[in-house]
């Protein structure tokens, strides 16, 4: 699955971001970031708090206005309607609690919105139902389909939102720290289900992860950010440890060794 040859990747590029600048009205938070992600590939964004990772994801998904260009399969996202964009690219944002009591099934069905007709008499198709059940199955929440999301734990809710993102059936999934709130076991399972998803057809993933280990075990490419700029864009295995240490302000390898010692 991995494409070690840079040139080969460029040929099959599915998601292209060119000279992205974006922010919240003031000076840009994300400054001139470019990358490409090929079919079946995953890109992981790393960087310390406040370096602009989430802002970049928001810019890519069209939530924030950007300078620069984002395209999926050569098609610029800028000219698209919200619905068209929603069929290409989905953002799974950081966990947000909700007060409103939908069932798990209803929540995941909302992911089908971009594929359904709009308006008064829009109904759900058998295809919608199949996708919802399949997505729930993938995250292991099918047995809980009738529960209310307000009764779920944070980790369960996170998995429901992931299922909803799967049900949206986009070509690109953007993930903002999807493993927050998850037990170790579910972190691993989530990464596995993401890998499986991205392996099917013309899809790709861009994710922000807190856990460097998890990120590197999962990603083909790593985008390391510092103060809104690209510090490094590398194959995951080529990532420069010295650079990582400098940007995080910590001897990353030593820290991980220390935490491993506990079990020896």
């Amino acid at each position: 699955m991995r494409l070690h040859d840079g040139r080969e990747r460029r040929k099959k590029a599915l998601l292209k971001a060119e000279h992205i600048n974006c922010g919240y009205g003031g000076p840009p938070v994300v400054k001139d970031i470019s990358f490409q992600v090929g079919e079946g590939e995953s890109l992981c964004i790393l960087g310390p708090n406040g370096c602009g990772k989430t802002t970049l994801l928001r810019g890519l998904s069209g939530i924030l206005p950007i300078k620069g260009e984002v395209s999926v399969q050569g098609k610029d996202l800028k000219g698209m309607s919200a619905r068209q964009r929603g069929r290409k690219i989905a953002l799974m944002s950081q966990l947000a609690e909700t007060y409103f009591s939908y069932t798990v099934y209803e929540t995941v069905m909302l992911g089908r919105y971009v594929h359904q007709q709009r308006g008064l008499f829009a109904g759900r198709s058998p295809e919608d139902e199949r996708m919802v059940e399949e997505s729930l199955q993938k995250v292991g929440m099918l047995p809980q389909a009738d529960r209310l999301i307000t009764e779920l734990s944070g980790g369960q809710l996170q998995r429901v939102y992931l299922a909803r993102t799967f049900a949206q059936d986009p070509q690109v999934i953007l993930l903002d720290e999807p493993t927050n709130h998850l037990d170790l076991k579910y972190q691993v399972e989530l990464v596995e289900s993401l890998k499986e998803w991205v392996g099917q057809g013309d899809r790709c993933l861009v994710g922000v992860f807190h856990d460097i280990n998890l990120a590197l075990s999962f990603a083909d490419q790593v985008l390391l950010m510092e103060d809104g700029r690209t510090a490094a864009l590398e194959e995951a295995e080529n990532l420069d440890l010295a650079l990582l240490n400098r940007i995080y302000g910590l001897d990353v390898k030593a820290y991980m060794k220390d935490s491993l010692k506990r079990w020896e």
Binding site: R58, S61, G62, I63, S81, A82, R83, Q84, R85, G86, R87, A90, L91, M92, S93, A96, E97, T98, Y99, F100, S101, Y102, T103, E106, L110, G111, Y113, V114, Q116, R118, G119, L120, A122, L148, T150, E151, Y161, R164, Q168, L174
Partner: protein
């Protein structure tokens, strides 16, 4: 849902029947039945009813009226009471209650805020200011005033919402919820202050302004019922068309955008429609609070949050609740009438607490929600 429809009908029959003169449900149904069926017999009765209406005060019946009595058992005083006073009043109360509740549902979803209501947008404050202006300038008296008062207050309510949204989108192009709520709050308080100022400097009118503000369903005719019914049906159709978008919007703006909802367009359309509906309701009945806040919560307790169910159920529940509140308003301290605005809160608050913390399919969530908010 079926139960709710039956309850709403029962509330309406109760609302028509009880009062200074009681009418039995059987009589009500009979009157309605005869009024609905057209034909020569009904016309004949209509003619005789006019006569009876003239002499109703004296409580004497003409021969003609007596003849009608023989035919239908229900005397014409009762008939006039039901058709010209009780029925329009009950229908208006139902429509206003339904309109307010539905607006509450929409605002709570659009602003992702369980505390939101259409009043937070400044509709009521604007409408109140408009009404106060009409009353203070003395234009409210006379035939023209009867039309001018609702028209101006409706216009002012709408202008306020446009102002709120205009300023909010000027400050923040994404039109985010916090900005809308904040600007709505600021403008509401400002307009309320201007209105209070008006009331203070013209003490002769201040009582009238206050009475209008507290709301009432008295002295309303069929035309207001008709207008409100048409507006309500149209607005409900718009809301129903956006039911799924509203579902998605309760998950917050970022998720809605990520799921392919054209958020800005939805917000403009939905809030605009809410403004029209609230404006119409307020123009006819004054400012009646509480129903719009509470009805959606009560309904979600039993039907879940999906707007396909919450919208119609809220309309039914809010309408029935308003009919009962109006009934209480005119019977509890009879012959005086308690302002309906204070009744809704007076009856509503304990009822709400009972429902909310009591048993139900979705009970116990309030506690969880507040726990989550703490995190």
């Amino acid at each position: 849902m079926f139960l709710l429809i039956m309850a709403a009908l029962a509330a309406m029959i109760l609302g028509i029947g009880l009062g200074s003169v009681s009418v039995s449900p059987g009589e009500i149904l009979e009157v309605l039945w005869e009024e609905i069926i057209p034909g020569g017999q009904a016309q004949e009765k209509a003619a005789s009813r006019e006569d009876a209406g003239v002499q109703a005060g004296a409580a004497t019946q003409t021969d003609e009226a007596a003849k009608t009595n023989a035919v239908s058992r229900v005397d014409d005083v009762t008939r006039t009471l039901v058709m010209n006073i009780r029925l329009p009043r009950v229908l208006l109360a139902f429509l206003v209650g339904a309109a307010m509740s539905v607006c509450g549902v929409v605002m709570q979803s659009v602003l992702k805020n369980p505390l939101a209501s259409s009043y937070g947008l400044g509709v009521s404050a604007g409408a109140g200011l408009g009404a106060a202006l009409v009353i203070v300038t003395g234009a409210a008296s006379g035939l023209l005033g009867a039309f001018l008062l609702p028209a101006v207050s409706f216009g002012f309510g709408l202008i306020t919402v446009v102002l709120v949204l205009g300023i909010a989108s000027r400050i923040d192009r994404g039109l985010s919820n916090v900005t809308i709520v904040l600007i709505g709050m600021v403008l509401s308080l400002f307009f309320t202050a201007v209105m209070n100022l008006l009331a203070t400097i013209s003490p002769t009118y201040s009582q009238r302004i206050n009475l209008w503000l507290l709301g009432s369903f008295s002295m309303k005719d069929w035309s207001s019922v008709g207008i409100l019914a048409v507006v309500l049906v149209l607005c409900l159709a718009v809301f129903a068309g956006f039911a799924r978008e509203m579902d998605i919007m309760t998950f917050g703006e970022e998720q809605a955008l990520g799921m392919g909802v054209d958020l800005k367009r939805c917000k403009w359309i939905l809030i605009g429609t809410v403004a029209v509906l609230t404006g119409t309701a307020v123009a006819f009945a004054g400012i009646i609070g509480f129903v719009d806040l509470v009805a959606p919560h009560v309904v979600r307790r039993f039907f879940g949050s999906s707007h396909r169910k919450v919208l119609p159920a809220s309309a039914l529940f809010g309408g029935a609740f308003m009919v009962l509140c109006d009934l209480a308003a005119r019977t509890l301290a009879s012959p005086r009438e308690i302002p309906i605005g204070s009744i809704t809160a007076l009856l509503g608050a304990p009822f709400f607490l009972y429902i909310y913390f009591g048993k139900g399919k979705h009970a116990g969530k309030a506690k969880k929600a507040s726990k989550n908010a703490d995190r």
